[in-house]
């Protein structure tokens, strides 16, 4: 029999605070208010975030590569949230895999634009701000249209007030709430506010990444990058993944790995594979928008307590890919728990924690997937085999594209890592890969011809 919780619950007039107005905070607010409305519950919700998404540069940006995965695009469409073309900086229908052994274009299974490239704020530093283009601003606006109140103020302190969370903002005003959702990411100093609250919560461990945006202009972007994401498998130590993402007049460079430093960035930028994607003679501008945000390498310990829940990166997120998709799933699970189950620690443990655990378990497999990708990055003979297998799959229309779909889902974050891993363990996949490793490393005329055709 289903045990009914005896802990605190949302009732008419309950007050909810959300710290952080990025995707996790906005999704949580949107779904909480939507579900509450469906069951006739009147809840007041305040989103605290000092960021102004109408500003270009760091003032309005939440620092990320800005890729909306295929699965998130579809989930949002099913939710009735269709990302407008003003927010979408570029719809992507393919990706190019660049390696020293060759390049290959991999199309979406249905040849349609299924991935979105967005700016989190209103554009890179130095650009004319376009408030309507901010992805985070758009999501926050959806929550506001549902009835949320956006408070553009910094939270200075969090404390307990007779067992309820109390939020104190700049200027000293303190407000007590029935529930506090924390969605401040892992780059905000706000997480330190929770250290003195006596919680078992421990923030996730993280590593430094590098993201920058260069102005290239629409014509150059169209000519050199097209509607593809460009992914690089380069033998640069500690570099797990690197990509170029075209967005409007800009291109975003994303580098993920372990403690990325300036030398690694320069090695990447100067590699012939990257240079092939840029106009001849392109020089890095002196002034450009760049950041080194931290991203999770694991999950938080106990991201919930009575009347308190951590969502998004400061709770649990997906390893390297589709962080916004993970924020959507976790935020919705937290909102569902708060509306239908209760606000107690046990409620979050029973109904929110499983969603986090699912992401966490998948990340463990993700680490294995990236370890295998790392091996391919290190060994040229493996890259030759991979390149041959993908190239042949792309040349033969209608054939089963085992490697192409595995790579697509790994690099775009469109499917769980478990799916990717299981597909890559299929005997037919392994046999074909082994076969292509052998043939790809033979100095035959066929291999050379194929290389020429694909390039």
């Amino acid at each position: 029999m289903d045990k009914q919780s005896s802990g605190p619950k949302l009732v008419d007039g309950s007050r909810v605070a959300v710290m952080g107005g990025g995707p996790a905070g906005s999704f949580f607010s949107y779904f909480l208010l939507q579900m509450a409305e469906r069951i006739g519950l009147d809840v007041q919700l305040d989103i605290y975030d000092p960021k102004d998404f109408a500003c270009s540069g760091p003032k309005g940006c939440n620092m990320c590569g800005g890729i909306i995965s295929e699965s998130l695009v579809q989930n949002l469409a099913a939710e009735g949230i269709n990302l407008p073309s003003t927010v979408m900086q570029r719809a992507l229908d393919s990706y190019f895999l660049h390696m020293d052994v060759g390049d290959v274009r991999i199309e979406t299974p249905l040849q349609e634009m299924r991935i979105g490239a967005v700016h989190r704020g209103a554009g890179p530093r130095g650009s004319v701000a376009k408030p309507e283009s901010s992805f985070d601003g758009y999501l926050q606006q959806l929550a506001v249209e549902r009835g949320a109140r956006a408070v553009r103020t910094k939270v200075e302190a969090v404390a307990w007030d007779q067992g309820r969370p109390q939020v104190t903002v700049t200027g000293g005003t303190a407000t007590t709430y029935d529930l506090l959702a924390v969605a401040v990411g892992v780059n905000s100093p706000s997480l330190k506010l929770f250290e003195a609250m006596g919680l078992p919560y421990r923030p996730p461990r993280s590593t430094k990444t590098y993201i920058c945006e260069y102005y290239l202009g629409r014509e150059v972007i169209a000519r050199y990058l097209g509607s593809s994401m460009h992914v690089f498998l380069l033998n640069i130590p500690n570099l797990e993944f690197a990509a170029l993402v075209p967005k409007g007049e800009y291109v975003t460079f994303c580098m993920l790995g372990h403690e990325i430093d300036k030398a690694m960035v320069q090695a990447f930028l100067n590699s012939p594979e990257v240079r092939r994607c840029l106009p001849p003679g392109w020089e890095e501008p002196k002034d450009f928008c760049h950041c080194s945000p931290r991203i999770n390498t694991d999950s938080a310990v106990e991201p919930f307590a009575d009347r308190l829940v951590f969502v998004g990166d400061c709770g649990t997120t997906r390893l390297y890919k589709d962080g916004i998709g993970a924020a959507y799933r976790a935020a919705k699970a937290a909102a569902r728990t708060a509306v239908f189950e209760g606000l107690g620690r046990d409620d979050f443990l029973r109904f929110y924690h499983p969603a986090c655990q699912m992401i966490r378990a998948d990340n463990r497999i993700g680490k294995l997937v990236f370890a295998i990708t790392g091996l391919i990055q290190r060994f040229r003979f493996l890259r030759r085999g991979l390149w041959r297998m993908v190239s042949l799959e792309q040349l033969k229309h209608g054939s089963q594209r085992r490697m192409s779909t595995v790579l697509w889902d790994t690099f775009t974050g469109s499917a769980p890592y478990q799916d990717v891993f299981l597909r890559s363990c299929h005997p037919a996949f392994l046999f074909r890969f082994l076969w292509d490793i052998i043939l790809g490393n033979l100095p035959s005329g066929h291999a050379r011809r194929l290389r020429r055709t694909s390039l």
Binding site: V73, A78, N82, S85, M88, R90, A91, E112, R114, K332
Partner: protein, 138 residues
């Protein structure tokens, strides 16, 4: 270069054909489509759908062939949701189907209204027929 998600269909292009097997549903990202039902030689326009509307959702729940055709009116961008992937997501999060059910419920309501309206239109003729002694009186 496009800023719109999905696939582009030009004016008059068929997106879905009546009688074909369906394994996906569609969400209109921009533009309009008309839903057409062929009955013998006659073709009826059942509805016109616009941005944000779904079609082909019956394929998610049934194994029947498409019950109607869908044709683009002008340029239309349509996003495909494959049945297999989408059903798996619905199993993980049943709430995902709420919007689709809501839309299907609205369509049933409209259909009921249309049925009542067509019944009312038929009523005078039926009454006249009964008056001529062709109907059966209770």
């Amino acid at each position: 270069m496009s800023n719109t998600l999905g696939k582009l269909f030009r004016d008059g292009e068929m997106i879905v054909r009546q009688g074909e097997a369906g394994d996906c549903m569609y969400v209109i990202q921009s533009g309009e489509v008309e839903v057409l039902r062929r009955d013998g030689v006659q073709e009826f326009c059942l509805a016109t759908l616009g941005s944000g509307d779904f079609f082909g959702e019956m394929a998610l729940f049934e194994r029947e062939v498409r019950s109607a055709s869908v044709r683009a009116i002008g340029e239309v961008w349509v996003l495909t949701l494959e049945k297999k992937t989408f059903l798996r997501r619905i199993h993980e999060d049943p709430g995902l189907v709420f919007k689709i059910l809501e839309r299907m419920s609205q369509r049933i309501r409209k259909l009921n209204d249309a049925l009542v309206r067509s019944g009312q239109r038929d009523l005078p003729e039926a009454a006249a027929a009964r008056g001529r002694g062709q109907g059966t009186a209770a």
